[in-house]
Symmetry: C2
Subunit: 318 residues, 2 copies
């Protein structure tokens, strides 16, 4: 099979297309023909060596699959060849999805939303499962509450706006003026142009100093620290950007804040819940562009450069 | 009435006994004859100026009351003169409990545990309500889980050990060898002598690397940062020491940790729940010593020096 192999830690040039043996499923596993995958920031972070401890090279990156079951192990009962599925392969542990085929335990595989193409469905697993953890499982966002979603035109942000609206929340989001149309079209109530407005000042002014119930930090830097200044008493922060820089947390105590640090695998139950919302038309994937799998290195360059609207999908059949 | 008045921000010497007019209750308030109060670290932190913003001097410190209702406002329905009560006065907003009388809104006042003296009951409100927030409300400690309680011989720690045991948890605690008998007598399963053992090493060894479900940080410094290294996946930290030093949080993402920053007022519902546990014999106040209210400055000196076992109580009738 064709696969994009990471041959060393480094820049996008370490991604090489190679011909590898087609894998087979173990007893509890499914072999999936990958129709589409997508690129995520964790892919280029892994590529450049942020998580190199314990990893063996060469390695196949990729944490999103939409595809078709080709073969199943002898103990698999939930899937049969021909089933359309979408899922997030297990992180770091085994070959990922930048390939024609991927093998995963059936327990993490879910049925694909029926109303989506593979290119659309491949935009969802990692992003959708992560946002679910941030807003629902750990963030406990409630109907009528308010949330600040950073980078509302990005992969995580564009999904999070839709999920927060489906949950009945009021959504503040930040993005560049150039991309403001996207979060607006997804239902954001207030789009803050981070280049001309300070979100701390805007939120405090527009909420009469009350602040928001939840902040979704997708950008790192000083966001955790600054988040405290837009939080209500007993507000929460869900942060997905693991940064080594020390953070000043003093204001967190004044606000009785709770911070959830999220780096969580995506399980079937979340993907089932997301499929339900997608099929009911409450959430749609936001696809910036579809590129052939062979151009994975170029997709990394574009994602790292920034300004991507939603997700870059890689078509494994192209 | 006699009161201990903070005349300036500074050392214990700024606490002076003065004669002040006896206050009266507003429509929804109760006037309480203070039989006993206690000293808490937040008292000397306030005295030295940590929270000076918006505070007016002179000021009466004190955040614990056990006493007897002397008069009630015209709208008060829940209490009558002669009722024995215990509560935590509202922080910073009005005169505290280092005085013969204290006035509070009836909504924060609770009935005193029947089986305790006033000196015992005065040890409970701030500590008990804070620990309740840390372990129950925000820490969500579950039966069968494990918890690390720092400073298990202190005011917070000695209450927390008993509450965690009542909840069915396994308790690790740290204290000096000199005080190890106290947390043991309160039911701690494993007392770590922090002067001769490293708690991160002990917990990882004794849990086979699994770690604990919850950490209660009562000591500040690098405890938040180090707590990550003893946490299970999806573990929690409840921290009550507001420190300005920046904290390195990288390991929190690896553990999918949640950190709750707690600086929470104590409400009647918590005090009612605590009274129930005290009357059933599941929790007892740990009183290091009882000093006359007139020696409040000396009580501050002792608490700041460290090594206090449980709480220092001030007897307002002495």
């Amino acid at each position: 099979m064709k696969a994009i192999v990471m041959t060393a830690f480094g820049g996008p040039e370490v991604l090489e297309q190679r011909e590898l043996p087609k894998p087979g499923p173990g007893p509890t596993e499914v072999l999936v023909k990958v129709c589409a995958t997508s690129v995520n920031p964790v892919d280029y972070q892994t590529r450049r060596g942020d998580y190199k401890e314990g990893m063996e090279l060469p390695f196949i990156l990729g944490l999103d699959v939409s595809g078709v079951v080709e073969a199943v192990g002898e103990s698999v009962r939930g899937f049969a060849p021909g089933d359309e599925v979408y899922y997030m392969p297990k992180m770091f542990a085994r070959p990922g999805s930048y390939a024609e085929y991927q093998v995963s335990d059936e327990s993490i595989v879910a049925r694909k939303p029926a109303n989506l193409s593979h290119s659309e469905a491949a935009a969802l697993p990692l992003v959708g499962g992560t946002v679910w953890e941030c807003l629902v499982t750990r963030g406990r966002l409630q109907v009528g509450e308010s949330v600040l979603i950073h980078a509302g035109a990005g992969g995580i942000g564009s999904f999070a706006i839709q999920l927060a609206k489906a949950m009945g929340a009021y959504v503040f989001t930040t993005c560049s003026a150039r991309n403001a149309d996207l979060p607006k079209s997804l239902g954001a109530d207030r789009v803050i142009d981070y280049q001309s407005e300070d979100y701390v000042e805007v939120i405090n002014r527009e909420t009469g100093g009350a602040g928001v119930d939840l902040v979704l930090d997708t950008i790192g830097g000083q966001t955790i620290e600054r988040s405290a200044y837009v939080l209500k008493q007993f507000g929460r922060v869900s942060t997905i950007v693991d940064i080594p820089d020390p953070q000043s947390l003093l204001e967190m105590w004044n606000r009785n804040a709770t911070v959830s640090f999220i780096f969580t695998p995506v399980y079937r139950s979340k993907l089932d819940a997301i499929r339900n919302l997608v099929e009911r038309g409450l959430i749609r994937p936001v696809v910036d562009s579809v590129m052939p799998l062979s151009q994975a290195a170029e997709a990394h360059r574009r994602l790292e450069r920034g300004g991507v609207r939603g997700k870059i999908v890689l078509d494994a059949g192209a």
